[in-house]
């Protein structure tokens, strides 16, 4: 009984975190957008507009459920739930601190990639269920994009997994710091086990992993439908894309899923490439910076701050780059990112056999 209670509490805590993060992220996104464009962003609700998103969500909660008469009722109602649950379940295996993860699956990384893919079905249901040509076009684009970009993202992750030799996210995290069981080599030359810090992160384990991270980052932008890859909801062409017909709480859940997805892909990148909960500060002689800044609270702090930094970069990119055309999007994926990801994977194999012996 107490077992199930823990499950429930963890679920509720995670949901609360995602909801809180979404409120914060929407606010910061609007502020960043404002500053980048020499505006102020929200200023009226609360001090510096800080209560703006709270007011927004209160408005959305109060709104009526409107289903278009031509819509497919079941698909239309189920889609936001599936979209959100698919992303929410991804958080189940993400490690937060040493020894702290909702579930330390052996196949953690594989599970995350698999469960994120369910998102595409939800998007297609939303588009098809709306019975609206713009929604359908948007969801077709979304699915084409997500399915395509899963390939470079997945292969970039595989090239790390070949170096890390594990699919367990907690183990991948552990091997990037001072607590690692196996020795780590900075760019394959300098043994940094015991020194840790930024030098032991996976991106610096081998030079090609930096490229792998760039590939993964670009592909992850496309997977969560963020600009410059936001053609599924392209406001100027498709009204709102797959969520055109949604309003109220259903729209809120689609929005929640979008921001949760941003956090999730940023967190996957952080866990797999950027040292997870490990500190960026290395041990320098008697100055045991890495030892001092490793622990449960520190772990949560590092995970959160690194992930929020990556989310900040996603927002920065969104307000800089214009949207790609659909054909440009596909050619970037299939002609550039996928071959480069394969190259990374090949180098990883060679690296494993010749350098890391």
């Amino acid at each position: 009984m107490a077992f199930y209670l823990t499950y429930l509490i963890i679920g509720i805590v995670l949901f609360g975190f995602i909801a809180g993060f979404t409120l914060f992220a929407v606010y910061s996104e609007r502020k960043i957008a404002g500053f980048v464009q020499d505006r102020l962003g929200p200023m009226e609700t609360g001090k510096y507009g800080s209560l703006q998103t709270l007011a927004d969500i209160l408005k959305l909660i109060q709104k009526e459920f409107i289903t278009p008469s031509a819509a497919d009722n079941i698909l239309f109602a189920a889609a936001p739930v599936i979209i959100f649950v698919a992303v929410f379940l991804g958080f189940a295996v993400m490690p937060w601190a040493p020894g702290m993860a909702p579930s330390a699956l052996n196949l953690g990384l594989f599970y995350v990639l698999a469960i994120i893919s369910v998102d595409a079905i939800g998007l297609l249901m939303a588009g098809w269920g709306s019975n609206n040509k713009f929604s359908l076009l948007g969801s077709m684009r979304a699915v084409a994009q997500i399915v395509s970009y899963e390939i470079p993202a997945g292969i970039a992750l595989i090239s790390v997994v070949m170096i890390a030799q594990s699919l367990n996210l907690q183990e991948i995290a552990l091997n990037q710091g001072i607590k690692a069981a196996s020795p780590q080599l900075f760019i394959g030359l300098w043994d940094v086990s015991g020194i840790g810090g930024i030098l032991a992160w996976n991106v610096f384990q081998a030079p090609h992993l930096l490229l792998a991270y760039v590939i993964f980052f670009i592909a992850s932008l496309a997977e969560c439908n963020r600009a410059p890859f936001d053609i599924p909801e392209a406001e100027s062409e498709l009204v709102g894309g797959f969520h055109t017909e949604y309003g109220g709480l259903r729209f809120a859940f689609i929005f929640l899923a979008e921001y949760a997805m941003m956090f999730l892909v940023a967190m996957i990148g952080v866990v797999v490439f950027l040292g997870a909960w490990n500190t960026p500060l290395p041990n320098i002689g008697a100055l045991k910076l890495a030892d001092w800044t490793t622990g449960l609270v520190w772990g949560i702090f590092w995970t959160l701050s690194k992930t929020l930094l990556v989310v900040g970069v996603q927002m920065w990119i969104r307000w800089t780059l214009p949207r790609l055309r659909a054909d440009q999007l596909m050619s970037l994926c299939w002609k550039v990112l996928t071959p480069l990801a394969f190259l990374c994977m090949a180098i990883s194999g060679i690296w494993r056999v010749w350098v890391m012996v």
Partner: protein, 186 residues
């Protein structure tokens, strides 16, 4: 393909640097907001937003915003109402048997303005009415911030006559005409 990709990355990086500069430049606010200043266009960095009800942009006193009518100078010629492209000016005149008075520029007034309404909700601020006015009694002022909760309040009435006065003047004119008619028939 490789060349295009590299080019795309370089230009993207350039753009990112520009937006980052603006992101951190937003700590400051643009100080000079007066377009009459010589260095107005030199100030390109910082937040441009003017938080309107609390701060306002400086405007010249000869700014051309909402209309105002100096009814004492009006000779009720109806030219402004005819010039108005959106028909927002409604004028009703009552004739007077003799000269009422003179405007400040010496024009003779022979008509009473029984009604002189300008619907500011319709007005498009073209200023054509001010151009045609022979006595320059209709002018544009520097007033632009007049929000009303009731749409009817946006119809500005400029006449200084009460309904009784209008009735009385109308009666005077009919009596005058009747007398003239009677004198002619004699």
């Amino acid at each position: 393909m490789f060349k295009t990709t590299l080019h795309a990355f370089i230009t993207a990086a350039k753009g990112l640097v520009v937006t980052l500069a603006h992101l951190f430049g937003a700590r400051r606010s643009r100080k000079i907001r007066d377009v009459r200043k010589v260095d107005y266009f030199d100030k390109q960095d910082g937040v441009t937003t003017v938080q309107f009800p609390r701060e306002k942009m400086p405007i010249p006193e000869v700014a051309r915003y909402q209309l105002d009518v100096e009814i004492d100078d009006c000779i009720v010629c109806d030219l402004c109402a005819k010039a108005c492209p959106v028909d927002c000016i409604t004028i009703e005149s009552v004739k007077s048997p003799d000269v009422i008075g003179k405007t400040s520029d010496g024009s003779v007034k022979r008509l009473y303005a029984a009604q002189f309404d300008i619907d500011m909700a319709k007005c498009m601020y073209c200023g054509l009415c001010t151009v045609v006015c022979p006595t320059e009694c209709i002018v544009m002022t520097d007033q632009y911030d007049r929000s009303m909760t009731n749409l009817a309040e946006l119809t500005y009435s400029f006449t200084d006559m009460t309904a009784e006065e209008v009735e009385q003047k109308k009666r005077e004119w009919t009596r005058f005409q009747a007398e003239k008619e009677a004198a002619k028939n004699k």
